[in-house]
């Protein structure tokens, strides 16, 4: 059975590569959310490998043992309707596996949808990330600066991205810091990330958005808080202010390099608020100055989830 061996060989190669010297981006997490996701992926790979191997072994065994060429011509296979015990096992084990995976899935989903753990009660850095054809605009309301196509972030601090779009649906994704989420033009979605160590990461739009999609990427650089503060200071001293006219120009379809501005577009072009998005810009500013605790932050998210659920139905 050449095929089976080819597949087993390929599987071993895959596992070897996954565990090998050069870690794959998603499995080389640099933040708590990405870590959770990588753990879930590894657990599921292990459980799934168990299932795959069971099926392969059974298949190979059956094919060798019951191949027609080996049996006498007179052999007539019996009529077997089924067996209650066998069928109970065949139903029972998958049910148990799915139950276990469900628990892991639900628990980790709540984890990655909330403020990342392990940073104490540090207040999150809020960044408004909006996409336009085919660029990313990052507004830092707290610092009152804005960048295009690159992102500087402090390490060891929760990050809260507010995502929306000035065009087609896009998906904001920094694989080493955590999973992606959609940015849409009529609502704001919230993505919680965090970076454990300084470094440079790849970020991109992962959702097909037309002609310039392939190049719709941005660079992410994580650095200690002090360095980040210094960068902000430098930006404030050197960068041009972002005017409404300039921003309109930036929204034109096309690719741009990395740009830096003081001020944000949130003032003259507020993000899509209203009941879809949960919180608008003003709303958010208030909640920030009031230093919310983790628990109330969490409650807020559940509320948001419930709202979206209603919206989707």
């Amino acid at each position: 059975m050449k095929l089976k061996w080819a597949i087993i060989g390929a599987l071993i190669t895959v596992i070897a590569l996954l565990t090998g010297c050069e870690p794959l981006t998603v499995l080389d997490p640099k933040g708590p959310q990405a870590q959770t996701q990588a753990d879930v992926i590894w657990i599921s790979i292990a459980i799934m490998a168990f299932i795959v191997i069971t099926v392969f072994v059974m298949l190979v065994y059956l094919l060798i043992k019951y191949r027609g060429s080996k049996q006498p011509d007179s052999y007539e296979p019996p009529h077997i309707e089924g067996n209650k015990v066998v069928e109970a096992i065949v139903v029972g084990i998958p049910v148990i596996i799915v139950a276990v995976l469900s628990v892991i899935s639900v628990k980790s989903t709540y984890e990655v949808e909330a403020k990342p753990e392990g940073y104490g009660d540090k207040e999150p850095l809020v960044v408004y990330a909006s996409s336009s054809d085919w660029k990313w605009h990052f507004s830092y309301p707290e610092q009152d600066i804005e960048t295009v196509n690159y992102l500087y972030i402090p390490t060891d601090r929760p990050l809260e991205f507010k995502l929306y779009s000035y065009g087609p649906i896009t998906s904001f994704w920094i694989p080493q810091l955590g999973g992606q989420k959609y940015a849409m033009s009529d609502m704001i979605t919230t993505l919680h990330l965090g970076a454990d160590a300084p470094g440079e990461f790849m970020g991109r739009n992962a959702n097909f958005s037309g002609e310039g999609f392939a190049e719709n990427t941005f660079n992410v650089k994580a650095m200690p808080q002090e360095e980040f503060d210094e960068w902000v200071k430098e930006v404030k001293q050197t960068a041009e202010p972002l005017t409404e006219q300039k921003f309109d120009e930036l929204l034109e379809p096309g690719h741009l390099g990395q740009l830096t501005f003081t001020g944000t577009h949130l003032d003259f072009m507020p993000p899509p608020e209203g009941h879809h998005g949960g919180h608008g810009a003003d709303d958010k500013k208030n909640s920030h100055s009031s230093h919310e605790s983790t628990s109330s932050e969490h409650a807020e998210h559940e509320e948001e989830g419930a709202e979206h659920e209603a919206h989707n139905e």
Binding site: V14, I51, L62, V90, V98, S102, S105, T109, I169
Partner: protein, 648 residues
């Protein structure tokens, strides 16, 4: 000149011009050939106007194979483009058009047509019926599908192809961001062929429920017919959603409504929801018939009965129900929050249970069997490991938190191809080879068939396993190019080689058909595989009336019991048979639908109104038509039966 501008392709390339020439030459060749060999009359009488389910099945199959090659040509261009980093073979727009049409053609016009082809040919025979419940409606179904397919296929030479993905998410697919008529083609061609599919669904539900041979209770029905029943129930529930979504999308594009535009209160997520409320059940519409086919082939070539018949039926029913409860897993990342994602994560993974049961039942069917490695069996055996890998990665994707990392990546592409290719394509090729002798009266060559199988199975593995890796390494899907530094090059090169392997496999299948048509023996009897279900109880090839005497069934494997246990299948003498007349109306009506669709795409309202009048005229004609069909007398029947038996 205005017309030229309107029909001009917005992004022409040498490849498109070459295709235009090729299409023109092929059309001329077909017309000339038909005229030269004086086959116009034959074509009209025997095929275009036929209401025979077997011929309709064969026409579906030919169309599906054509579409397979159309979609396959797209694949080769896509994989060639991405084989090396920063390739300039195709530009972004061309690449976008190609992957969009690849998706549409393969799902709607290839896979759907292939399953309906086999359902059409096999189910009436398998349940001992003379035809489907509504033969003329069946012809209309086929011609609507065919015209829908042709409408999409002319898009790349007239006016430009759709380019916003087969999912056609708004606002990308809206007027503002997709200015060419491509998306209009998408909306109209899916609408027309979808209408055909919906009619098929109703037709087959009635056929299976009302026309089974005496004694064949539902729980004695062969598994492929069961799969057909469940599939058609899903079709009837799912396709109206597509119809509505497409109608809304068309209105957005042509009449400036704002259902899915984000200005004026439209909701882009509404499209995604509607699309996947249809789109996810669609996956099971494709896979369940495949499961049915394997449930016929594995017992036949294990020389044993199907293990766990009851659980097989129950699991299919459960799958059909769950298929409607999981659509949100296509957009876990749309921001609906942890609670909703958790619910859909669990329902998604739950589908693995009934599917797993089926896999184990097939394995147990081989237990204590006597396995023969024929070509159909090889596809069924190749299906099990590859589909298992595709399936378990589906469970991985179903875990919402992890899906945030897999979503929109090559990992997803690998998963669904490793489910759909072994699940649908292997099943169709297995079914094609298995039922080929029933369709045409000779067998396909086993040796060439086995070569083709190994190329296809190996090509599938090589093409898609590397995508798991590149996906986990951060390669998003639908990127027309990537930089050298990403390191995706090697994986994409392997995929390209795999795609070439697949292409060779499919070419071998065509060669096999040619070779076997010329050289295969016509003296194969009625039951060359020593099979178990009713379709093998009639002659080879099947006479137009299917069974001269309606079979009497009293077990799950009536034909097998007739052969081995002396059960009497055909009792009594010949009686007069009533048959439906051929009709040109379905074909003519579908042509009007084609013109209607084309006019709509380009907003040519006079054409639209004229064709609409044509469609209505066909309907009126039908409602006043007195057509009671014709009768085959007992004497004629006896004569042709003697002839058929003598021919052996």
């Amino acid at each position: 000149m205005e017309f030229f501008e309107r029909f001009a392709v917005p992004h022409p390339s040498p490849a498109i011009y070459a295709s235009m020439v090729a299409i023109a030459l092929t059309s001329i060749a077909i017309v000339a050939g038909l005229t030269y060999f004086k086959k116009w009359g034959y074509l009209w009488r025997e095929w275009l106007t036929t209401v025979d389910h077997k011929k309709i099945g064969i026409m579906y199959m030919i169309s599906a194979l054509l579409m397979l090659f159309r979609g396959g040509a797209d694949v080769l261009m896509m994989r060639a483009q991405t084989a090396v980093p920063e390739n300039t073979l195709l530009d972004a727009q061309h690449y976008n058009e190609i992957f969009t049409t690849h998706g549409v053609v393969m799902i709607i016009f290839m896979a759907m047509a292939f399953i309906i082809a086999l359902m059409n040919f096999v189910i009436p025979l398998q349940i001992g019926a003379r035809d489907v419940a509504f033969p003329r409606l069946n012809a209309l179904s086929f011609w609507l599908y065919f015209m829908g397919a042709m409408l999409l296929n002319i898009s790349f030479v007239i006016g430009g192809s759709p380019s916003s993905g087969w999912t056609s998410y708004f606002p990308l697919a809206g007027n503002e961001l997709s200015q060419s008529v491509g998306t209009n083609y998408y909306m109209l061609s899916l609408q027309i062929s979808g209408l055909g599919t919906l009619i098929t669904g109703i037709n087959f539900i009635v056929t299976i429920l009302k026309m089974r041979a005496p004694g064949m209770t539902l729980m004695k029905m062969p598994m492929f017919s069961w799969a057909g029943l469940i599939t058609n129930v899903i079709i009837v529930f799912a396709f109206p959603v597509l119809t509505v979504a497409l109608a809304m999308g068309t209105m957005d594009r042509l009449f400036a409504t704002n259902f899915f535009t984000t200005t004026n209160g439209g909701m882009d997520m509404l499209w995604a929801n509607l699309f996947w409320v249809w789109g996810h059940p669609e996956v099971y519409i494709l896979i369940l018939p495949a499961f049915g086919i394997y449930s016929e082939i594995i017992p036949t070539f294990s020389r044993r009965n199907l293990y766990g018949y009851n659980t097989m039926v129950i699991s299919m029913v459960v799958i059909s129900l769950l298929s409607f409860l999981v659509w949100v897993h296509h957009f876990f990342t749309m921001g609906q929050g942890a609670l909703v994602n958790s619910i859909f994560s669990i329902t998604t993974m739950a589908i693995a249970v009934p599917t797993g049961i089926k896999i184990f039942n097939w394995l147990f069917t081989m237990w204590k069997g006597k396995i023969q490695f024929t070509v159909p069996m090889l596809y069924s055996l190749g299906f099990i490991p590859i589909f298992t890998i595709g399936g378990v990665t589906g469970v991985m994707l179903g875990m919402a938190s992890a899906d945030y990392q897999y979503h929109n990546t090559m990992f997803l592409v690998a998963h669904f191809h490793l489910v759909i290719i072994p699940g649908v394509v292997f099943a169709m090729l297995a079914g094609l080879t298995y039922w080929w002798p029933k369709m045409f009266g000779f067998m396909l060559n086993e040796r060439i068939g086995k070569w083709a199988f190994w190329f296809i199975a190996g090509g599938t593995c090589l093409a898609f396993f590397p995508m798991f890796i590149s996906g986990l390494d951060g390669q998003a899907r639908r990127m027309y190019t990537y930089s050298e530094a990403t390191g995706f090059g090697i994986w994409n090169m392997l995929s390209f080689i795999g795609a070439i392997g697949l292409a060779i496999g499919f070419i071998l299948i065509v060669y096999n058909i040619y070779y076997s048509t010329r050289y295969a023996s016509r003296d194969i009897g009625d039951d060359p595989w020593d099979a178990r279900s009713l379709e093998w109880a009639t002659h080879n090839p099947v006479p137009e009336y299917n069974f001269a005497i309606t079979p009497q069934v009293n077990s799950r494997q009536a034909f097998w019991d007739a052969k081995k246990n002396g059960h009497k299948l055909f009792k009594g003498g010949y009686k007069e048979i009533h048959m439906p007349n051929n009709s040109g109306v379905p074909f003519i009506m579908a042509v009007f639908f084609f013109i209607f669709g084309f006019g709509f795409v380009f907003s040519m309202w006079i054409t639209v109104i004229a064709s609409l009048i044509g469609i209505i005229a066909c309907l009126i004609h039908r409602s006043f038509e007195k057509d009671h069909g014709y009768h085959i007398s007992a004497e004629e029947l006896e004569k042709s039966e003697v002839e058929l038996r003598g021919a052996k």
